[in-house]
């Protein structure tokens, strides 16, 4: 038997085993970093395996679908596993140095159990090819995410965590009711088999599509169910915010894309798909406007997440039937999600450093940052390029693909959304970065240099992704629609 299933198992099992071990106060950091290196190695191994051998389906327990659960490692899953790893590992390194300084103090080891639970849940989610299994994985992710939000235990964080927990639970149960409809109608939970069975797109299937999408909207903080996100992401410690904004939201949005790519490909007509796209567009505009009107640094970045997630939905109205993941709209959406994960993580880490240096979470804290903390300022600026979608960033490549799809399909109205969203992003990014070049006499505590470089490194990754767009699309093509 080949090594690929063992690597898949390792990607989930290593963080799961490490999570309870990291409860030990003295071991926590070392256990988590070792597990992080192991999990990252497994994820990279999986990307290489997919690039070499193509997609792999592995029946867990030796029971093929529909009886058992099937892990579905295609190009998309591999890319997302690698994204999770390449975001989480630097964040972990960052956290070991920054958390003891940032508010948690001697209790910094509390970060590791939720960190590892989260990573395991994400990997399980990306691998899963089973709609019920996705529900369980999502619950693990949400639980860990709430733990991260409430790490510091201040009143605002607890309130944000409670709201997040309730919204996530409502979303999960709505999703689960949709799964129940799918199972009652088609008698299977496997994504591949459902795709074949749901080709009719009748009433129960449509209701299931609406329920599952609605539930995931809440989890992905997509407009109009986004209100919980900014307080939640804004009140977590910087490394936690980086994971939440970069990876957790992306994971829920990924499930929406996966479902509409496969299972609901035949569901609803143009109106339903255009409606989903319109909600995405509204999210882009509304989220950007809210980001523009914030006073707190972290709030600007958190609202920007709502805006950026909106773009992903544009793939749904643009997709042609029977395309594969490397088709323009899908590849564009995925690339945007990945580039956003790196950029947003970089931004949260960088602002975390600035907030530590100045002791204040305000846009005014940015004053003088360009002179005193140039590396950090660069990190924010470079990550901002991706959010705006300027070349050569990953955001540019992604939007280019979406634009091309919209143009060639004659759906010009999405072009306006893409361009308008970019302009608004430019406005809120400049609002942050502008004051950085002004003079300030306020004293700042210099953060450790390596931490600044981690933030810049992640921002650079989001930038350089635009140059690596072609290889990415090539890996995405390794799907074969569940074959």
């Amino acid at each position: 038997m080949s090594a690929t299933p063992i690597l898949m198992a390792a990607a989930v099992a290593v963080p799961l085993v490490a999570a309870p071990l990291s409860l030990h106060r003295a071991w926590a950091g070392a256990v988590a970093l070792a597990a992080g290196v192991g999990t990252t190695a497994a994820a990279i191994g999986l990307v290489l395996a997919v690039a070499r051998d193509g997609a792999v389906r592995h029946a867990l327990g030796g029971w093929p679908a529909p009886l058992g659960i099937v892990w579905n490692l295609d190009g998309l899953a591999a890319i997302l596993l690698a994204t999770a790893a390449l975001v989480a590992l630097p964040v972990a390194v960052f956290a070991t140095a920054s958390l003891p300084r940032e508010h948690l103090g001697r209790e910094a080891h509390r970060f590791w159990p939720p960190f590892l639970f989260l990573w395991a849940g994400l990997n399980a989610l990306f691998l899963s090819g089973d709609v019920f299994n996705i529900y369980v994985a999502l619950e693990l992710v949400s639980l860990a995410a709430v733990m991260l939000v409430t790490l510091e235990g201040r009143a605002a964080a607890l309130a944000a965590g409670l709201r997040y927990l309730l919204v996530a639970q409502a979303g999960a149960l709505t999703y689960l009711l949709g799964v129940a409809f799918l199972y009652a109608r088609h008698g299977t939970l496997d994504v591949g088999l459902l795709t074949a069975a749901a080709a009719v797109g009748d009433m129960p299937t449509t209701v299931a599509a609406v329920l599952m999408t609605g539930g995931l909207f809440a989890k992905a903080a997509l407009f109009p169910l986004h209100a919980w996100l900014p307080p939640a992401h804004g009140s977590a410690p910087a490394p936690a915010s980086a994971l939440l904004s970069g990876l957790v939201v992306m994971a829920a949005a990924y499930v929406i894309l996966r479902l509409w790519f496969d299972v609901f490909a035949a569901v609803g007509g143009a109106p339903l798909r255009q409606g989903l796209g319109a909600l995405g567009a509204a999210g882009v505009i509304w989220g950007s406007l809210l980001a523009l009107s914030q006073r707190r640094l972290k709030a600007v970045i958190a609202y920007s997440t709502t805006a950026q997630m909106g773009y992903l939905l544009l793939a749904i109205p643009l997709a042609a039937p029977a395309a594969d993941w490397s088709a323009d709209p899908w590849a564009g959406a995925i690339m945007l999600a990945v580039a956003h994960a790196f950029a947003k993580a970089a931004m949260f880490l960088a602002t975390g450093l600035i907030i530590q240096a100045t002791g204040q979470d305000r846009i005014g804290s940015m004053r003088g940052v360009a002179r005193r903390m140039p590396v950090t300022a660069y990190a924010i600026g470079v990550a901002g390029l991706t959010l705006m979608g300027l070349p050569p960033s990953g955001g540019f490549a992604a939007k280019w693909l979406l634009l091309r799809a919209a143009w060639s399909d004659g759906q010009w109205w999405w072009v306006l959304v893409l361009l308008g969203g970019g302009l608004l992003a430019a406005a809120y990014v400049f609002r942050i970065i502008g004051p950085a070049f002004s003079h300030s006499k306020a004293r700042k505590r210099q953060p450790p240099r390596p931490l600044e470089w981690i933030a810049l490194g992640m921002a650079a990754a989001s930038l350089l992704m635009g140059l690596a767009a072609m290889p990415l699309v090539a890996v995405l093509a390794r799907s074969g629609g569940g074959a």
Binding site: V136, L158, G161, L162, L165, L166, L173, T174, Y183
Partner: protein, 102 residues
């Protein structure tokens, strides 16, 4: 109209009513109970549609519901603990809000 369908229908009603309460009710303990009841509704629906006359019902939804019960209990207990900590910290048992969302 079979008994099983009756339970599936009750499940749907429970889900909708509880989801509504989850948004409308202010007290957090009530919201947590609402989430629980919504879960029970989904579970009833799952099993109500899986029943097959007097034969034993499909075991797959049963396993799904069992998993769902464990997850729901975990989340509820965590939610109550979170609420207690929140109340300790603030002296409040509701979230202040400007409208919208639970």
């Amino acid at each position: 109209m079979t008994s099983a369908l009756l339970y599936a229908g009750a499940g749907v009603v429970l889900f909708a009513v509880a989801l509504l309460a989850l948004f409308l009710r202010r007290h957090l303990l009530r919201k947590l109970m609402a989430a629980n009841i919504a879960g029970s509704g989904v579970f009833l629906f799952l099993l109500g549609t899986a029943a097959d006359g007097d034969a034993p019902p499909d075991p797959v939804p049963q396993a799904m519901v069992l998993t769902g019960i464990v997850v729901t209990v975990s989340v509820t207990a965590y939610g109550v603990a979170l609420l207690r900590r929140f109340a300790d910290e603030t002296g409040r048992d509701t979230l202040t809000e400007d409208g919208g969302g639970p």
